[in-house]
Symmetry: C2
Subunit: 247 residues, 2 copies
């Protein structure tokens, strides 16, 4: 049985979380079965109950466990476990469907941006936006035309590293630049492709698809990205998972 290391700089509750996560992932704890009770975990790992509860509470929030008063703490089904994190990364989504994500960066430039862009990013008069244009692919097939806008002074690092963005995830690059996505608002419409989109995606100009606009905010509610993506209807089913209610 793995133990917690008091010499480890990682907090005890965090180590306990990792141990439990691993046991769940490895299948030692099956869905709908009870994990050891809180007093048992206290004894087994020699930590206080508050520490155990912090670990369990976070795992509950992450969708790995659920509690029932008087009965115990149980393992959630894998579907719930998976659906709680990082859902708008297109690369991840493609990989999850068993295909190879790829992409081509067509444009990276500094622009003033349309009124919509400036409004979404809350740009001040003198501020500019970084504009990135990409065609995204799954197993080499083009499945989306994506235009991203980022606030310029804040996201300077992204502009410098834009070349790496062929297949890479913009979100992960943003996170490494201190722009951590926390909330996203997505607006989805049925629409026809523009001439340019039809050409680049190699679809007929009358094939309807989805136009998804997405504004991403950090923890404090400041906008850190705005994107417009066109998905041809025949190529990609747009999937979203969200929490319906909470607390």
């Amino acid at each position: 049985m793995p133990m917690l290391e008091r010499s480890n700089p990682l907090p005890l509750y965090y180590q306990l979380k990792e141990v439990l996560k691993q046991q769940i992932r490895a299948g030692h704890l099956a869905p709908h079965t009870a994990i050891p009770s809180e007093p048992e975990l206290v004894a087994r790992y020699r930590v206080s109950r508050a520490t155990v509860r912090q670990a369990l509470t976070e795992l509950v929030h992450e969708g790995l466990l659920y509690r029932q008063h008087g009965k115990g703490t149980f393992v959630c089904e894998p579907r719930v476990q998976q659906t709680l994190s990082e859902l708008t990364s297109l690369s991840e989504d493609i990989r999850r469907r068993g295909k190879q994500p790829g992409g081509l960066l067509l444009v990276s430039e500094l622009v003033r941006g349309s009124e919509t862009v400036r409004e979404r990013l809350r740009l001040l008069d003198e501020e500019q936006a970084i504009r990135l244009v990409r065609v995204r692919t799954a197993d080499e097939v083009p499945i989306a035309y994506e235009v991203d806008y980022l606030p310029y002074p804040r996201a300077t690092g992204i502009y410098q590293r834009a070349k790496e963005l062929g297949e890479g995830s913009l979100y992960s690059m943003m996170a490494s630049e201190g722009l951590t996505p926390y909330i996203a608002e997505q607006n989805v419409k049925a629409a026809l492709p523009s001439a340019r989109e039809a050409e680049l995606l190699r679809i007929p100009p009358d094939e309807p698809g989805l136009r998804v606009t997405c504004t991403t905010f950090d923890q404090t509610g400041s906008p850190i990205a705005y994107s417009e993506v066109f998905y041809p209807g025949s190529r990609y089913e747009y999937m979203v998972t969200l929490r319906v209610a909470r607390s």
Copy 2:
């Protein structure tokens, strides 16, 4: 200044949450301003720090507050505050856009259900599904054709109360029947309406729209509803808000 009541059956941390929520909503605590520090709250409300922290941690999870180590705890922007709860209720969404939600229940019946339905709801051989068909309206204009399926033995109460479903929220009715939505998976496609949909929504048969399928699960990962909704492209912009990353 409001105080916490030790005679109140509601927990102290919960009362504290409500007090802070109300101060935020009333504008006494503006976005990006710091709330009183934890030791201050301890003194002011005469509770232990663990109690204060439980209240604050939950408010952070609900998107009302964010913390910065060494600096303080701050109020999130309203956009983040609003976007964390109950997002798939169409009625709520319509109301948020300043229109009056309404609806008409066309069908409520027990059916065996298609393979898709049975699979999504994980029905056993002998189990049936409740099928509800509704036209949803905003300011009397039809904006969506919705078909819901619920697992029959579990959702008996819904079947009996189906008549109330004109304008009411199915989710809130489900919650009152012990079927609490926790996670939803949504799949969105661009599509043309069926003949029946075009007729009921009074749109041309060649006007593309969105076909959204949604499977809803409870806390434990058991499916509690499956729905298929058609939104005509010209009438409604489909809006989704989700958390991108967490913990």
